[in-house]
Symmetry: C3
Subunit: 348 residues, 3 copies
């Protein structure tokens, strides 16, 4: 059989390394589409002139565009037979990516844990995106619940990896070039608030809402060459639990991040991902809102130009975030769809 | 509060200058999306080879793409609390824009007029788009009806600016490079009709219709980094007068202009905007048609290569324009959505 | 009348050559949109680094993107008054196209055959896409059923051309640069199967399905500057036999080809089109599936790097292809929408 059936849980081996297809050269065409699909307005990623003025050689890609391109490649090998994307950790954006670079992805299987019912198991992978010279661009861990082909299959070796609860921002301090915080023009950037204006515990309602159409998430998800069929096949998904296409979780992350510009306009680059959870599914026709909490602020060793904010951005569907919908008891407010904990750089 | 609440009427000051976020480098990615969203077929903007053959260094951007990018930046500062976009005047396209250039926008408040009910007021701005060297690319005036935060707020200074009814095309005669009208290939351009083939009073039905989908206008409006929430938030707009998302008025201008290719294929570049009025709103699912009237023809001082046509393009929804739907009594035929009066360059 | 009414059957002359508007410079923006609209994952077209490693100067465009751009230009002159697109033959992709190149199209009328009812006739054209230096990039024949303006009009000269049933792949052997099959990395390409792994008679179900939205096919069809009104005008098409917009047949070809990656990942470039038939129309909301049969395998004279597969790809709507829906009696299984017979290059 020449078509790819995807790996089942018993097909993964601890420590195994998987080189994914398809390498992808990212271009200004991808950048335009990313802007058109999500509406980000961060000045560094929008303007070559602005980026150069502060010390970049050119506008870098939005970090989440690179993330989705790196992630998309893992789907045919890791999650074609997944039932759920359970979480992210230890994400690091190691250097800016520029149009013209080619991204490839390799994943290492760092954990395996069969479910007690023997029908499924959790696969933990560390996926690393590299440029064409093999230099790491970004990496992250994720774990997914994957079906077994054969419930009787014996699992040789299992391990649940220990993953850091929080990435140390000092480890990512040098993933940006040296920048001139003085040359950073806050009028053009859209907000006067710099590093020192944010305090731990502060909560920001990002106010705006964005309704998602089927065409939009399909166009985005194909752009990332993510082939998970639940996003594309309305005929087959009629028979699923939701009865319809499910929107790629990364689409929600990008929408929430773009909405967060209104309140976090200068937090222009991602440094790391501490944790991420897709709390509930999003469907076409739903409207996404978001709010953020500043969890920590961190000065960075050897850098007087930028600091880091640890942010927790929560996205909801069909409910504005003026009252900060959040965890409730063991779960979440029913409107919440995403809980995303990350570090972002911001000028001092 | 770190989110932008937008200015209310009483927050504007006569003569005030506002530097808008976000500077934006326009690319061939934006050009591809513009083509895909509107379907323009003007040869100069479609083909580097055609543009070079007549004297351009490369294909310039469609003028309306530059216009929307310049316009989009003004929304968070000017019209976030606007109830209506009332008009345009004194628009000038001062030079071609090429992929790779960075556009920024500054607006000057040139007029303020409180409404008699004290709930709102009209704000007049002149917005100027510049490249990264600060050179003007295009400028235009527009006026919008903006809410007051506090009906009791006293308005210090008011003025209604005098705006030209018609831009003098001689003032814009040198906004195009010297071109070779001989090298302009009418077969490749799609029409044999040059400057001298058009006469004042002539009316042209552009015949074709274009149905607009929610995904399309959202993708376009985000591409222009226009953040007006009425275009994006189906949840919040359920509570509005229309009960649904409203399409960005500029989307209609671009659709009408692209449709006008059929009949005006050689009127390849905009020179100026005399007047523009969004007569009625457009919603997803509606089909846009257009017709144009030649209002004037103008030879241009010092140019034997191109002349200018003053065109009035009228767009309708859900009604073909074979019978030229137009003004009716004090208002308009109910199908009319746009009345746009502009100058376009055309080879002699 | 300055608008283009399109040619009717009696307006065509045997041997006539038509130079079409609008020349079009293709860019990485077009490539990004093509990826986003169809989801192809062929490594050569996705990665400059991969393409260079095997001997290309850069990633070429997907051959079908070039095909659609070349085809789109013919619509205003050939098929504006067409009732049906009847078939394709003698298609050849003569060399790779790279971003930055400008494509133009010329068509020669190679056949005319009036229908017995005198209401319509079949027009056969050979359309040739060239670069700005006039060098042929691709060519193909197609025939369309075109309305007569006047049923009484006398047809001066008729001829039904003889078209090859199958293109000789030897004629296209040198349309690719010399490549290194050794440097072709099957992990990155997504499949271990090379030329010798495929045998005539083999059938492959491509498994995945793709649902099409109105916004998607409209965005694609405008990108190709294809102006056929049936694709865009929901208002006018309410009165047609189908009561709604019809999706451009080329959209189905591109979807089927992108789906065929799953099973044919290394058949990375088209060589020629033997035959193509749009068996039934596709509408928004439908889900496209595809399967392929290997009709022939061909070694190529003077090439040890690549061979050619003659493939027949059949697309269906709303029916997965596990049981290979095919011809039935004189017609087809009612789910079939496309029957496309072509040659593709694949590394040895």
């Amino acid at each position: 059989m020449k078509t790819n059936p995807g790996r089942f849980f018993e097909d993964f081996r601890l420590g195994e390394t998987i080189r994914h297809a398809t390498p992808r050269t990212v271009t200004t065409g991808d950048v335009a589409l990313y802007t058109a699909l999500y509406g980000p307005r961060f000045a560094v990623q929008s303007s070559d002139a602005f980026a150069k003025a502060i010390g970049y050689p050119a506008s870098p890609l939005d970090d989440l565009l690179s993330f989705h391109v790196v992630f998309g490649k893992t789907v045919p090998d890791i999650s074609l037979n997944a039932l759920a994307n359970l979480g992210y950790a230890e994400g690091g954006f190691h250097r800016p990516v520029y149009p013209g670079e080619t991204l490839s992805t390799v994943s290492e299987v760092i954990g395996l844990k069969e479910s007690s019912n023997k029908q499924t198991g959790v696969v933990y992978v560390r996926s690393t995106g590299s440029d064409s010279a093999g230099k790491t661009v970004l990496s992250y861990c994720r774990w997914v619940l994957v079906k077994k082909r054969d419930p009787e299959a014996k699992i040789v070796e299992e391990r649940v990896p220990e993953l850091a609860k929080v990435v140390d921002p000092a480890d990512l301090a040098h993933s940006l070039p040296p920048l001139s915080a003085q040359a950073y023009d806050v009028d053009l950037a859209g907000s006067p608030y710099r590093f020192s204006d944010y305090v731990a515990g502060e909560r920001i309602d990002h106010v705006d809402g964005m309704t998602v159409e089927e065409a939009e998430h399909q166009i985005a998800t194909r752009l990332f060459q993510n082939t998970a069929k639940v996003h594309f096949d309305a005929h087959a998904t009629k028979e699923t639990r939701f009865g319809r296409r499910l929107i790629y979780g990364g689409h929600v992350i990008s929408l929430a991040r773009a909405l967060s510009f209104n309140g976090l306009a200068n937090a222009f680059a991602l440094a790391g991902i501490n944790a991420g959870r897709h709390v509930a599914p999003l469907f076409a026709g739903d409207t996404v809102y978001a709010w953020s909490e500043v969890l920590e602020t961190a000065e960075l060793p050897g850098r007087t130009d930028v600091g880091a904010l640890r942010l927790r951005t929560v996205a909801t569907k069909n409910q504005p975030c003026g009252n900060f919908p959040d965890r409730q008891g063991d779960g979440y407010d029913p409107a919440v769809i995403l809980d995303f904990d990350y570090w972002a750089f911001i000028p001092r």
